[in-house]
Amino acid sequence: MSKSLTIHHQDTLEDHPDTRSPDTHQDPFAKTVFGFWLYLMTDCLLFATLFCTFAVLHNSTYGGPSARILFHLPTVFGETMILLFSSFICGCSMLYALRNAKTKVMLCLIVTFLLGVSFLFIELSEFTDIVQGGHSWQDSAFLSSYFTLVGTHGLHITFGMLWIAVMIAQIYRLGVTTNTFRRLAVLNMFWHFLDVVWIFIFTFVYLMGVI
Amino acid sequence: MKGVIKPVRFMLVCTCLLILLILVMQPLQILYFREKIAVLFPKGLIAFEERNLLFFIQILMLLVVIPVYILTFIFSWIYRADNPKGRYDPDLVDNVLAEVIWWGLPLFLTIIIGVVTWVKTHQLDPYKPIPSSRAEKTIQVVALQWKWLFIYPEEKIATLNFVQFPKDTPIHFEITADAPMNSFWIPHLGGQIYAMPNMRTQLHLIADTEGDFRGSSANLSGEGFAGMTFVTRSSSDEDYQKWIDKAKQATKKLDLASYDELAKPSQNNPVEIFQLADATLFEQIVNKYMHPHSH
């Protein structure tokens, strides 16, 4: 591991006792990251349940339109590229954090945030188009499960963006410290996770729906 | 050490007595209630076969449960702390043979029970017709709030909370619901199956004696659920024909309009008999919620 990483999450073991834990030989960074992996596992299962439900209900169109008619692949492709790129930029923020480059970290986070905004904007326009075309989530099981699965992902993105905003504020106020570095690492995990879920949505909802 | 129970014997004896009391109660209950114990005193082939499987599994399980009980009592007695005759061997923490026995024997028993269960599950599939020399009769069943509607498609009649058919005749029930999930159950004749909206489940039963049997819903479906009982009457061929002829004279007619009235929530409905004015009524009920404009 690079020297900076060592400083940021193991900065104290013998010389400066780590007061985040009653047992000074514990490693809070590793503990928090592990705990967050566990949380991501539960989130994964939550999405898995929604995916399963979509799989069961995707043909229950109740006389209404099916995926083939409703989905517009170029739009979805645009959303995917935005999200992938934002994941890359978010990862860059970690690299800059390792080098203690406070301004560059904030810049990356701001760009990630803006990309998130564009993603949500496109997604909301997509939803609005479908609803204004006369097909809302109240019309069929297929539409209910589609809006819920994709909407839940969008909600997670929204929370992620709130988190990014808070991190920008923290980095601005405190700079890159042991605490903010740890939180940045965990935010990255979350953001990449959402990207992975989107890949599944892209494949199983949009691509397979349209084929 | 504080709190050691001195009269262990007292505890073991009292527990023994309690268990014996419960054991004695079982045959007493059977003697007292007899035929009312529908599952143990079946009146039809399906219920009879289901009961036999119950007995088979029960006996095999006793091969495990009885030794556990015996060991529980014996070990508690012999190895109680103040018994000098109980050998104390604190290093006895492992024994490969013992593990092999109590992993292996239950596995062996499970395989036997499993194989028999597999076979019986296929034989007693509710969707499987009952082989018989007599022709099968179809009766359609609709679970409503909170009553049971029976439709006889061949005889063109319908009944509420009452179903009659000739004995020794395989009955093919086609079951649906216009209500929350219910369960169609006549314990004397056989096991139950869910009655569900938008779905069509099937149950094959046969009665081998004449008599009246209690039927009910076995799944919570709302406020009036406890009142969803119906009478099942198995009669001779002549009595059945007489009843059908009388039913065909019923004043009330059942078509889609009167069905919609009937389907409104009501509780503890008395028995009613209708002429079936619409032969496709059951199909319409099954498809009631399938399309946006079908109801």
């Binding site: 047992d23 | 050691v4 009391l21 604190p90």
Partner: protein, 656 residues
């Protein structure tokens, strides 16, 4: 402004009004007592704002006891109703009220007694048994507890305001859909369970991280106490199963609030999917309840047989296999829903397979007693009761696992007798054993043994009388959840015996409650003078004083085998040679309590459609979270000299 809340929500039947009144009176009396004893500050500083796992564990148990009284009250009401509601009489409860009672009974017992016991004991015991000073995320621990309590309070609020669900403890669709349950009942149920579920998931993350990351040096996985192993398996189940519940309830919420069609009858909804999903969570849930109980017995039986646990490795593998298999049996809860015989038979076989490792555990416990020196303290009495009752209930489980047999007993009182044998004979008796066993560790004094024994007899006799007749009732065609039945069914005498049994259980529970207060009053007489190990236990929690200091271990222990305290029995270390370190403890915080409070308000707001209040409380929770997660994690320091002084004082007190 008040959404759909009207004055009518406060109008109830007499029996319910009495319950609400006694609840309010009890609350007022408690508050008056706190004022009189001037203990508000103490309550706030020592308990409500604590992040100490031991105090949180005790608070879990307190909530469990309160909710148990509610759930048991529901049970008594049901027994009385079914005793009198036969033929022309319709008992004292209306059908709707009876349905509320059994729905609340199941929900309370599973989520607030069962899960409360699991998390309460995990909080109390796990850090101590692995030689840690706290859990992985102490603040998250507090949040989990307050979410749990908020959900419990929401159930109690539903007593006073509006009605609870009448759709059973699992609220099957389509009965729970808007079409058949338009009023607020199912919504109360949804938010209660959803909030409790989030608390459980967070707790699961916390304790899994604790066990896997904070064991003391030398404690490899195969050297952990079996209680920790059983908790580990239960925690994996929690993490994998609860998200399914969260998602399913979320979809039911969308159906009810936004008119979606996941589980509706029309619109292409598939309510059978609800049944599958809810049981995909539900079956692992019952194993989450029982696995830690198996762990308790694996601690109690060796201690009171003065012999190590027989077959440690076998026991560990049995736990793992049970946990794994619990994910592939869920369909046995609805064999009667019309699946093909291949599918039904597959799930029958997987269900039967689970019995094998369970039986292995029973044999291993029995052979721990074999050639041991068995001391019949009350924890061992509870183990004895468990053996007799749980085995029979497990046997009836195998009967139920054969689809053709299940067709005849599904949803009947036979099923009720089976699962109550598992949860009372298993979970509850195990909890009583663990409660009695570990009580002296956290209080410094014992529970009165004689009263415990009387309680054991009441429960043993009462349980048999209350539930054995139910097996026969099931065979007689008696379905569950019936508020009334005809006299011709012949069921009445058996319901009378069951009511009598319930009354005896009531005596037993009352003796236990009385015994708790009696023991507190006479604690000087019952004081533990052994310096923290009254039962001669083998695991690390018995190596520290009773009650433990806030930091648990003055020195993090180093172990090299199972049952470390017995291994070190003959070793005496010179105290002055030990090198103490400064200990840092997380500061108390009120944030957890406030998150719980706002969650309660959020739940009430969502139930009654008070959207403005829901938005405010949701934002409040977010703000609290952000403030906490932007802060610095303040800590208190206990200096090494202070720790050493505490240790020496304690040892001097017991002349060890």
């Amino acid at each position: 402004m008040f959404g759909r809340l009207t004055q009518e929500a406060f109008v109830h039947e007499d029996s319910q009004n009495m319950a609400v009144l006694s609840m309010l009176l009890g609350g007022i009396m408690l508050m008056a007592l706190l004022f009189y004893l001037k203990r508000w500050r103490w309550l706030w500083e020592e308990w409500i704002t604590t992040v100490d796992h031991k105090k949180i564990g005790i608070m879990y148990i307190v909530v469990v006891l309160i909710m148990f009284m509610k759930g048991f009250g529901d049970a008594i009401m049901m027994r009385i109703q079914q005793l009198f509601s036969v033929g022309d009489s319709h008992g004292f409860l209306s059908a709707g009220h009876f349905q509320e009672v059994f729905s609340a009974h199941g929900t309370t017992m599973i989520f607030f007694v069962g899960m409360g016991v699991v998390f309460g004991l995990m909080n109390l015991i796990i850090p101590l048994q692995i030689g840690a000073r706290d859990v992985a995320f102490p603040f998250l621990n507090a949040v989990s507890f307050w979410l749990f309590t908020a959900a419990a309070m929401l159930t109690l609020v539903s007593l006073a305001m509006g009605k609870f669900s009448t759709a059973g403890w699992l609220a099957y669709a389509p009965l729970s859909s808007l079409k058949y349950s338009p009023d607020e009942g199912v919504d109360y149920w949804i938010w209660t369970v959803q909030i409790a579920g989030v608390g459980s998931t967070l707790g699961g993350i916390n304790f899994l991280a604790t066990i896997l990351k904070m064991r003391c040096p030398g404690m490899q996985l195969m050297k952990m106490p079996i209680f920790v192993w059983s908790s580990l398996c239960a925690l994996v189940l929690i993490l994998l199963a609860f998200p399914i519940l969260t998602a399913t309830l979320f979809m039911l919420t969308l159906d009810r609030y936004l008119d979606m069609h996941f589980f509706t009858v029309d619109g292409g909804g598939n309510y059978m999917m609800y049944v599958n999903l809810i049981w995909a969570w539900g079956h692992p849930e019952v194993y989450i309840l029982i696995l830690p109980i198996f762990g308790i017995f694996s601690e109690v039986v060796p201690t009171f047989s003065e012999k190590r646990l027989f077959g440690y490795v076998s026991m560990v593998w049995a736990l793992i296999i049970i946990a794994f298999l619990s994910f592939i049996v869920w369909l046995h809860h609805f064999f009667t829903m019309g699946a093909s015989p291949n599918i039904n038979a597959f799930f029958a076989i997987t269900t039967m397979l689970i019995a094998i490792p369970t039986g292995v555990k029973i044999f291993n416990w029995l052979f721990t007693k074999f050639r041991g020196r068995v001391l019949f303290t009350s924890p061992m009495l509870w183990f004895f009761a468990f053996l007799l009752n749980f085995t029979v209930a497990g046997m009836t489980g195998i009967l139920l696992s054969a689809p053709p047999v299940d067709f005849q007993v599904h949803n009947s009182l036979f099923l009720i007798a089976h699962f109550h044998g598992m949860v009372i004979g298993g979970v509850l008796f195990g909890f009583f054993a663990g409660f009695t066993y570990w009580f002296p560790k956290f209080t410094g004094f014992m529970l009165d043994e004689k009263l415990n024994r009387y309680a054991f007899w009441c429960w043993m006799a009462g349980f048999l009388l209350a539930f054995m007749p139910l097996y026969m009732l099931g065979f007689m065609g008696a379905t569950r959840r019936l508020d009334h039945y005809a006299a011709e069914t012949g069921w009445h005498p058996l319901f009378a015996i069951a009511a009598f049994g319930a009354f005896i259980i009531l005596c037993g529970a009352s003796i236990q409650l009385f015994g708790l207060f009696w023991s507190i009053k006479h604690r000087k007489k019952l004081w533990d003078h052994t310096g923290g190990n009254p039962w001669n236990g083998r695991t690390l929690e018995w190596s520290i004083p009773s009650p433990p200091p806030i930091y648990n271990f003055a020195l993090i222990p180093v172990v090299d085998q199972i049952d470390p305290v017995w291994a070190q029995r003959d070793q005496r270390q010179d105290l002055s040679e030990r090198k103490y370190e400064d200990i840092y403890l997380p500061k108390n915080t009120a944030t957890g309590f406030y998150i719980g409070l706002w969650s309660l308000i959020f739940g009430i707001a969502m139930v009654w459609y008070m959207w403005w209040l829901a938005i405010i409380s949701f934002i409040a929770i977010l703000v609290l979270m952000i403030m906490r997660l932007s802060g610095d994690d303040p800590h208190d320091k206990i200096t090494a000299t202070q720790v050493q002084a505490d240790e020496l004082a304690h040892r001097r007190g017991f002349q060890i």
